[in-house]
């Protein structure tokens, strides 16, 4: 089993649930932000010494939910400050970006790091489409075209032009080219439609915000089936599952600190996401037909108040002492058949030091028990 350490760099000090979308940034204190960025980056660097196989960063806009507007900026720091760990950018929102710029920045990270990039081709959640003024109804078509263009940027031996539905470039020749040819690609497989696209694209399937292990397993089954139809055979390491994770010395301590952090996560950090989703739906987008099978549904289920035990049972979180987390990870792996798990450990307003202690416990007492799974 391979493990990743994921930090979405939340803002932990928002005074109350945001009332409007987007969240006014008057409550962002840049000096506090400076400390936070450095603390979060220190944790990502620390992940290498904790035995994680990769560190993961992502992209969000206009929200205290995550303060990485461009994960490649963090990725380039990690490319220098780490030596061997994989760098999973999960990742750039292709439909909202210039695909040529994505290809260039990813190639830079791959070259600087000596070929350690895992390239996330993400589509983004609805509120990002409001932020970047892009019609949500175009997202799948943009994603498909952009993904093909990024890969051409990496692989074409001659300068080439691109005349597409959304992107036009007259002559592309990126410098640098990536070391890996090509870097491994990761795509979201949060619903069966996305799982099928990831399989057709021969990408690692990534899934987080799990609310039900059987539903998640159905996505895995779809991924395997479509991959076989597309003429290739994924390995378990192509199945990446994410879960929010809190490891403390005892179950009681973990449950106490995690419950508070999750309240902040759901009530405050996720509030702009819910508000934006309602606006997108009100604008006539993101109905069931357009959104695919499960996003809104899934969000509701993740959001609905559950006990820690219910969330462990559902596969949404790992929480407890090292011994308990070992047993939860073992069950998770048995249910999903995944060969890779992303541990999202910087949840809500958890202090950096609590997360660091959890990482150390992971290295000392969890990883030795689950590595061979």
């Amino acid at each position: 089993m391979k493990f990743g350490f994921f930090n979405l760099m939340p803002w932990p000090h928002y005074p109350e649930p945001p009332k409007v979308y987007p969240t006014p940034n008057r409550d962002y204190d840049p000096l506090v932000g400076r400390e936070l960025y450095n603390g979060y980056i220190d944790l990502l660097v620390h992940a290498e010494t904790c035995g994680f196989d990769w560190v993961a960063c992502n992209e969000h806009h206009f929200s205290p939910y995550g303060t990485m507007a461009n994960c490649n900026l963090i990725g380039s720091i990690l490319a220098r400050e780490t030596k061997t760990i994989g760098l999973a950018m999960v990742g750039n929102l292709l439909p909202l970006s210039n695909p040529v710029r994505v290809a260039e920045e990813y190639a830079m990270i791959d070259v600087i790091s000596g070929g350690r990039l895992i390239a996330g081709f993400m589509r983004g959640v609805p509120h990002e489409y409001i932020a970047y003024n892009s019609p949500p109804s175009e997202s799948r078509r943009r994603q498909k075209e952009a993904a093909e263009l990024v890969q051409r940027c990496w692989s074409e031996p001659e300068p080439f032009g691109w005349e597409g539905e959304f992107y036009q470039f007259r002559s592309i020749s990126i410098w640098p080219r990536p070391i890996q040819s090509p870097p491994p690609i990761l795509m979201s497989a949060s619903n069966v439609e996305s799982a099928a696209i990831a399989a057709e694209s021969r990408a690692i399937m990534g899934m987080g915000l799990i609310h039900n292990l059987d539903v998640a397993r159905a996505n895995v089954d779809t991924y395997y089936r479509v991959a076989e139809e597309s003429g290739w055979a994924p390995t378990p390491e192509h199945i990446l599952m994410g879960a929010s994770t809190c490891i403390c010395e005892t179950d009681a301590e973990a449950r106490e600190v995690f419950a508070k952090a999750l309240d902040y996560f759901h009530d405050t950090l996720m509030k702009p996401t819910y508000d934006a989703l309602k606006l997108v739906a009100r604008a006539g987008f993101f109905n069931k037909q357009e959104a695919g099978s499960s996003y809104d549904n899934r969000l509701d289920k993740v959001a609905s108040k559950k006990t820690i035990d219910e969330m462990i049972e559902a596969g949404s979180i790992f929480c407890g002492s090292p011994k308990s987390v070992v047993s939860q990870i073992t069950r998770f792996k048995e249910k999903l058949g995944c060969g890779a798990i992303n541990l999202s450990m910087q949840i809500g307003n958890l202090p950096v030091e609590t997360v660091r202690r959890g990482m150390d416990l992971f290295r000392e007492e969890v990883l030795p028990q689950v590595k061979a799974l």
Binding site: E145, E158, F160, E163, G164, E165, Q168, R170
Partner: protein, 268 residues
């Protein structure tokens, strides 16, 4: 003298084109023409002289002239014309008779692209700018396409009403074979590509299942003044699958030459 017979599928719709004949030696040959302005010589594919949406758009600002290559569109072959190089020689005669001696822009699709490259190599003074759509004969290093009937279009519904009758299609195929087609690599052509120094734009559909992408890459690498451009979501017949996207870049290239890579809202 042989009277050229236009295939039934060639209806004069949309941007009206006229059919004409010209005498070359002892025989008359047909050609299609439309529009006014700078001339553009079009060499059609092995599918015959199809008046495509792209040609219709180009004819809005140019005089588009498309000879019916001997053997295609229901016409007879010419004795002694048995390969693309010889056919290019015939095209040079046609051009002199119909369009005069000045250099002009040339567009060739697939087999017509291969003939256009021969024309440019053997008569470089005749060709100003050259546009090639998925040209045959230059796919150096490519595996042969899988056997069976090739899939020409990503959006076959756009070709409805364009394609010739089965009888004409059969004679087109016979003519194509008479000229040595299909050819993955035309060694004679490769040997003389050094002479192709004019600006060249090669168009390649991202879904092309007939001309391997190595063709465009080879030309982009081998010719001194060549750009290749992918047209997204297009098969072999780019001018049918994505006529508008192809038109924008082709018009820009024909108007500005190598400077077509400089963004200009007039061509966006």
């Amino acid at each position: 003298m042989t009277q050229t017979t236009l295939e039934p599928g060639l209806k004069e719709t949309g941007m009206a084109y006229q059919t004409h004949t010209v005498a070359l030696g002892a025989r008359e040959f047909g050609y299609l023409a439309a529009g006014e302005g700078e001339p553009l010589l079009v060499l059609h594919t092995s599918g015959g002289p199809l008046w495509t949406p792209l040609l219709e758009m180009l004819a809005a600002t140019r005089r588009v002239v498309m000879p019916i290559l001997p053997g295609f569109g229901g016409s007879d072959l010419v004795e002694g014309l048995a390969d693309p190089a010889a056919l290019a020689g015939w095209v040079a005669q046609f051009k002199a008779a119909v369009l005069g001696g000045e250099a002009l822009d040339v567009f060739g699709g697939s087999f017509g692209g291969q003939v256009a490259l021969h024309l440019a190599a053997d008569h470089p003074g005749l060709v100003r700018d050259l546009v090639l759509e998925a040209p045959s004969g230059v796919a150096v290093g490519a595996a042969p396409p899988p056997p069976g009937k090739p899939v020409l279009f990503a959006h076959p519904e756009k070709a409805e009403g364009l394609m010739p009758s089965p009888e004409i299609a059969a004679t087109n195929s016979a003519a194509f074979r008479a000229y040595g087609g299909p050819a993955l690599v035309d060694e004679g052509l490769l040997a003389k590509l050094d002479a192709v120094t004019m600006p060249v734009l090669v168009i390649q559909g991202t879904c092309d299942a007939v001309t391997p992408v190595q063709a465009a890459r080879y030309l982009a690498g081998a010719l001194p003044n060549c750009k290749m451009t992918y047209v997204y979501d297009a098969g072999h017949g780019v001018q049918v699958d994505q006529a508008e996207a192809m038109f924008k870049v082709v018009r820009h290239f024909l108007d500005k030459g190598p400077a077509f890579i400089v963004a200009d809202r007039a061509y966006a």
